[in-house]
Amino acid sequence: MPAASCPQCGADISFRSTALPVKVCDFCRSVIVRRGEALELAGSAATVPDDVSPLQIGTRGQIDGDAFELIGRIRWKWAGGGWNEWFMLFAGGSTGWLGDAMGRFMALREVAPQEVSGDAIERLIAAQEVMPGMTATIAGVSYAVTDARTVTCVASEGELPHPAPAGMEMFSVDLGTPTPCCASVQREGETVFAYAGRYCSLGDIKPANLRAIEGWTIPDFSA
C-alpha cells in the first residue's frame, strides 16, 4: 500500500490501489492527484453533507460472487434530487460504481465504448438533446432513456478514478429496461462513459461493515 503525505496539510495518506490516481485527503479535503511519484493538489472536494446512507467507505460486499470494498464516494445533485455514487474496488483489482439513490442501489461497471450504440448515444456524443424514450444498446442489452439531465458534484471523499471537485458538472443519462438491468451514460466534456449493471437491494450484495445509524438496528442480511 503506497504511503505518502498530503501536500496541503501533511497528513498521512495511503492509496489502496496503484491504478487509482485520485485521493481526497481525509483531514483537509484537498483533492490530491498522483502523477508518477509526484502528488499534486487539484482543488478542494468539500465535505459530504450529512446523510443516512447505510454505506460508508470500508463497507464490503459481493456482486454476483465478486467481493468488493467501497473506497470512495462522489455526491451528486440536480434540481430534482441528490444521490451517492460509491466507488467499488473489486478483489481482482477492477472497479465499479454502486449508485445509492431513493433508497435503492444500482451496481454498475464501465462498458467499453465500442460496446455502446444507439440514437441516444449518438445524440449524446454530438451534444444534442437526449429525451426519455430514446434507445441505446450497451453490451448487448437494449435500454430506453428514463432520465437525462445536467448534474453537479456536491462533494467527494476517499479514492477515486478522477478528480471530482465541488461544482463540477456533467450530463448524465439514466437508462432502464423491463428487468432490473439499468445503465448510466455520462458526458464529461467531449468524452462519453457508459456504465451498465442492475438494481439490487442491500441484502442482495451481502454487505458487511455497514454504517451504524443512531437508533436503528442493522438488519441481519446474512440470513
Binding site: 453533507p49 431513493m102 438494481y199 451504524a212 445509524i213 443512531e214 438488519p219
Partner: protein, 429 residues
Amino acid sequence: MTSAPAVKALICPNCGAPVEIRAAGYTVSFVCGHCGTTLDAIDPELKPIAAAQKAFKKPEIALGTRAMLRGGEWEAIGYVERTDGETPWAEYLLFSPYLGYRFLVDAGSRWSLGTVLDRVPERRVGDRVWLDRKSYGRASEENYVARVTFVVGEFYWRVAVGETVRVTEFERSGALLSCEANDAERTWTRLDILKPGEAEAAFGIPPREEEEDDDSDDPLRPSPYAGRLWSWGAIALFAIGFLVLSTWSARPKQQLFFAQLSAIPDAPEKTAVLGQVTIDQTEPVTITGSADNLDNEWIDVDYSLVNRKTQESYDAYATLEHYHGTDSDGAWQEGSPVGIVKLSSVPPGQYDLVADISAHRWAASGPYGNLSASAQDATATLPITVWVDRGGSFSGNFWTALLLILAWPSVLAYLHYAHEKRRQLAYNR
C-alpha cells in the same frame, strides 16, 4: 463503533419551528409539519417552494413513528392524501436507512404495503400481467386519475398538491399491481394487502372497525379459505395416494375354492359342508354363487366360514333368482342368478365353508298373477356353482372413501372460488 445521527435538525425558514429531516440525503421535498410550507430539501437553505396548505391536518400515524412490519423496521416519514374524484385514501411513506422506502396505503377498512418495483411486469395474454411467476388480472376496465389533495412530511420526489397520475391496476388474491403514469415516467408498485389490524397494531393506533362479515364485505382481502383449501387439499391428496396405493397394491384376486352343488326346489332346507378353505393372511374374501338356468325359481344360500380351531363363524347371505312373465306392457324378466357376498376381513386359518340351502319354484299361481309357470320338470334339481376368492379391490369401498376424503376440500374450494368471484365482481363494479 460510532453511529451517524439519524435525524438532521433544522429550522423551518417560513415559521421558525424546529424540524427534523429523517432521510437526509434522500429527501427532496419537505413539508413543514407546523406551517405546511413545502421546502426544497436539496437546497442547504431549505428554500420554500410552495405556500402553506389551507386546512392543515395531522396524520393518524404521527410522522416519526417506528414500527416492525412484515419483518422490517420502518419509520413513517411522509403522508399524502389522494383521491380518484370519488373516494379519498391516504398513503404513508415509510423509510429505513437499510431497507429503503415502502408505501403504507390506508384505504379505510383495508391497509396495504407497497413496494416500488425495479422491473416491469410482463404482459403476455390479453389483460393479464405476470410478476414473479404469478399472474394478475386487470382490476377494472377503466383506469383512473389519482390527485394529491394534501401532503406533510418528507419525500424523495417533488411532491405537490394537485399533482395527478393515471393509475392502472391489476389484481390477484391478496395483492395488487399498480402502474402510475404521468408524462415523464411510469412506476409499477406491488401492494400486499395486510391482514385486518396488522398495520394498526404495528403503528399503535386503534384497530379499524371490523366489518361484520370480515370476508364478504371486503372481497379484496385474500380469500380466508385459500390457506385451509391448500392444507386440506394436500391432506386429501395424501389420503387419495394412500387409498390408491393400498387398493391397487392389494394381492391380485385368487381363487381359493370351487364347488358345484345342487338345490332341490321346495325341499326342506339342507345344510352342506362344501369344503375346506385356507386363508393365509387377513384380507377380504368374496363368495360367489351362480345358478345359470333358473326359471321362475329362487335359491337362498346362507354361507358360513367356520374356523376349524376356534369355531368362529363368518356369515353371509345371498339369493339367486330369476323370474319372467308377461303383463300389459309385454314380456318382463327380473332377478339376478348370480349372488356375490363380501367378507371384508377374515383372519388367517383353516375354515369349513358351510351352506344352508333352500329353493322354491313358482307355479303360475305365484304371487304375481302374470308369472309364467316354470317350464322346468317338477323334479329337476337346480345346479349351483360356488367359488371363493381372496384379495382384489373393493371398488365400492374405494369410491366411498374417495367421496369422504374429498367432501371437506370440495366445500372449501367452493367457498374459495365464490370469494374470488366476488372479488372480481367488486373490482368491476
